[in-house]
């Protein structure tokens, strides 16, 4: 502890090292794919890839906070679909509404959905996996009910809404800018506020957190609400991006979100996870999704390859993290 606070540069370097595994992996796979298709390494494609990652990376932040407390939010995918459908229906009925308002509508509605899930987990004391699995079906069901089974199609949405996803600010797609803003806000929240730090305390040791006076029930509720706010926001972005609100939007997507978190070094058992890691994890998934259609291989290989790449990435990450931690421990022992 003493050594950490006395030499901030070492701390910074070590924190960087933690994500070294995934960075090496990203560089390696980019070179391999770039060798097979040079267009992969162009600026245009890089931008497309970041654009692809934008929504996933936002969802991963919410999922990370839940995972850090030792929970999981399986309802994220259908919560996204439900907010997306509501957004689609609202914008169809009131095409003059500004896209910015729609984003806040998504944030608000998502927060409500997340808060409801949070109440069930925090005060209802239902196991997160059971509670969120149930809510996953509930939100999907409501999506079907409110839409009457109908889709909202491209021609029913105003251009202003669709342009939110295609428009650019300073050369970057708006979706990327939104993702960056989310990361800035959450960077401050997680690393520089008391509540943010308390989330980690709850995840590392629930009993200890309670004893030192942290309102663990509130923190548990809060992470699901935040996850909700982020999938609500993502729902609106998703619908604008694909110009279509379907009942089955993002079915099965929750696995991709969890995969992005795990790739980024978030521990499923709680207590561990960094914003930077999650961003890298999302980018890795983005690269895989973007690169596989470009390498000209059989579709059956693609499926298998996707799994293998994720597995290798996780293994490389674990190995490097372990060796970094060993080095850290050695250094700490020496200093003591």
């Amino acid at each position: 502890m003493v050594s950490r606070s006395s030499s901030p540069t070492v701390v910074l370097r070590l924190r960087g090292f933690r994500e070294l595994g995934i960075i090496i992996f990203i560089v390696l796979i980019s070179l391999v794919i770039g060798a097979r298709n040079p267009r992969f390494l162009t600026w245009g494609n890089l931008h497309d890839m970041l654009l692809d990652t934008a929504i996933l990376s936002i969802l991963a932040v919410g999922m990370m906070l839940v995972l850090v407390t030792g929970g999981i939010d399986l309802s994220a995918e259908s919560g996204l679909a439900l907010t997306g459908m509501v957004a689609g229906m609202v914008i169809k009925a009131h095409p003059h509404l500004s896209p910015l308002f729609m984003l806040f509508l998504g944030l608000g509605l998502g927060s409500l959905l997340g808060a409801l899930t949070g109440v069930i987990v925090a005060w209802g004391r239902v196991l997160p996996i059971i509670a969120t699995l149930s809510m996953m079906y509930v939100y999907r069901g409501i999506t079907f009910i409110i839409s009457g089974g109908k889709w909202i199609n491209a021609y029913e949405m105003p251009d202003s809404f669709k342009e939110m996803a295609t428009g650019r600010l300073l050369g970057f797609s708006n979706l990327i800018t939104i993702a960056l803003l989310v990361y800035l806000v959450f960077y401050y929240f997680i690393y520089h506020t008391r509540t943010g730090r308390e989330i980690y305390a709850v995840g590392s040791n629930l009993e200890a957190a309670r004893i030192i006076g942290i309102d663990t029930t509130f923190i548990t509720w809060l992470v699901y609400t935040l996850s909700g706010a982020l999938y609500g926001l993502s729902g609106v972005m998703w619908v604008a991006r694909y110009a279509s609100a379907q009942n089955d939007t993002a079915t099965g997507f929750v696995m991709t979100i969890v995969a992005a978190c795990v790739l980024g070094g978030v521990s499923i058992t709680g207590g561990v996870g960094s914003l930077f890691g999650v961003l890298l994890g999302s980018v890795t998934i983005g690269i895989i999704n973007n690169a596989l259609p470009m390498v000209r291989i059989s579709p059956f290989w693609k499926m298998a390859l996707q799994g293998i790449i994720i597995l290798v990435a996780v293994m490389v990450n674990i190995l490097i993290t372990q060796s970094v931690e060993r080095a850290q421990r050695r250094r700490r022992n020496e200093e003591i």
Binding site: G141, F144, Y155, Y242, A250, N290, M294, R296
Partner: protein, 335 residues
């Protein structure tokens, strides 16, 4: 005393229900679709309703929430228990529904499959959209016209194991062997699994892997609209042409902005209409589902039952309908 009254009420109710079903005019036809909340399937139901009203029958429209075989089996068991007169089903699996449908037929229920067939053992007759050969050929002809019979084309399909997709693709390849397409080259087939994000990424991948690509055929509704969006986003409208099988409501935007000049689909309202009509005729004994039988199906005109490729018999709806700028606006609100 109270007990007796309630017993009497139950008895009366029972008699009422029984006689009700015995003396009701017309037949009860159950229509089981792949899943609820799918605009295509809803349109089939609309057509089925129309045909049933015309013939004085009653339609029960049902389907599972997600396209699963288990869900369909449960619904069909239910319909058998309700003693319906006929079942029209668009199957989620070619073989898995056979046992339950055999049970239905053993209970004197007429079974018609439509859109997506079941094994001939499990049906009396199948009502097919259009023949696969025509569907495959039309799309190749359309893309050839759009790109001037010259250049690289690619196919964006749904799942690599889907029977209908693969059959159409086989006929597309067959059509491409014709010498008039000698300057056209099918470079690849990719699969978007009918997921919007994956189909979009696969389309984007095509533009980048094949810089000289001139056209895309996407014989699946999600695929063709995701490809249209990708073409629009990549600024390739007019440079890469697109056709396929799409829903007018989803494609209206992309037909208007030029990303897709024309695409095809059979009319699901007509398909549901014909299926329910055939079921009605089977119930009243006008037809028995044998090869060579001829009948007239209301507003749809005359049909003949033919031999199907799978060994059973079928009725062919007719050629797929072409949607382009001239007619998309009338259809975009229909389905």
């Amino acid at each position: 005393m109270k007990k007796n009254v309630s017993l009497l009420v139950f008895l009366l109710l029972g008699i009422f229900v029984l006689t009700g079903s015995v003396f009701a005019k017309g037949f009860t036809i159950g229509m089981v679709v792949k899943n609820l909340g799918n605009p295509f399937m809803d349109a089939c139901g609309k057509g089925g309703q129309e045909a049933c009203e015309l013939l004085g029958n009653t339609l029960i429209f049902q389907g599972p929430a997600t396209p699963t075989v288990e869900g369909q089996i449960e619904i069909i068991e239910n319909l058998i228990a309700q003693k319906v007169d006929a079942i029209c089903v668009t199957a989620n699996d070619f073989d898995a529904l056979v046992p339950v449908l055999k049970k239905a037929m053993a209970n004197n229920i007429k079974v018609v499959s439509f859109d997506s067939a079941v094994n001939p053992e499990g049906r009396i007759v199948h009502v097919n959209q259009a023949d696969a050969e025509q569907i495959g050929k039309l799309q190749v002809q359309a893309i050839a016209e759009m790109i001037g019979y010259e250049g690289e084309i690619a196919i964006l399909s749904a799942g690599a194991t889907m029977t209908n997709q693969n059959t159409w693709i086989a006929y597309m390849k067959e059509e491409l062997k014709d010498p008039k397409y000698a300057k056209m080259n099918l470079v690849t087939i990719v699969y978007g699994d009918d997921l919007r994000d994956k189909s979009y990424n696969e389309a984007m991948g095509l533009f980048k892997s094949y810089p000289n690509l001139k056209g895309i055929i996407s014989p699946t509704t999600v695929g063709v609209s995701a490809a249209a969006k990708a073409i629009t986003d990549a600024g390739l409208v007019g440079k890469i042409k697109l056709t396929g099988l799409g829903l007018p409501s989803e494609m209206a935007e992309w037909i208007h902005n030029g990303a897709c000049e024309a695409m095809f689909l059979w009319n699901p309202i007509d398909l549901g209409y014909l299926a329910a009509y055939v079921a009605g005729l089977l119930c009243d004994g006008t037809i028995t589902g044998k090869e060579g039988e001829q009948f007239s199906a209301g507003r749809m005109g005359d049909y003949t039952i033919t031999k199907a490729g799978d060994g059973g018999t079928e009725v062919l709806l007719g050629p797929p309908f072409r949607f382009d700028r001239s007619n998309i606006d009338e259809w975009k609100n229909v389905y």
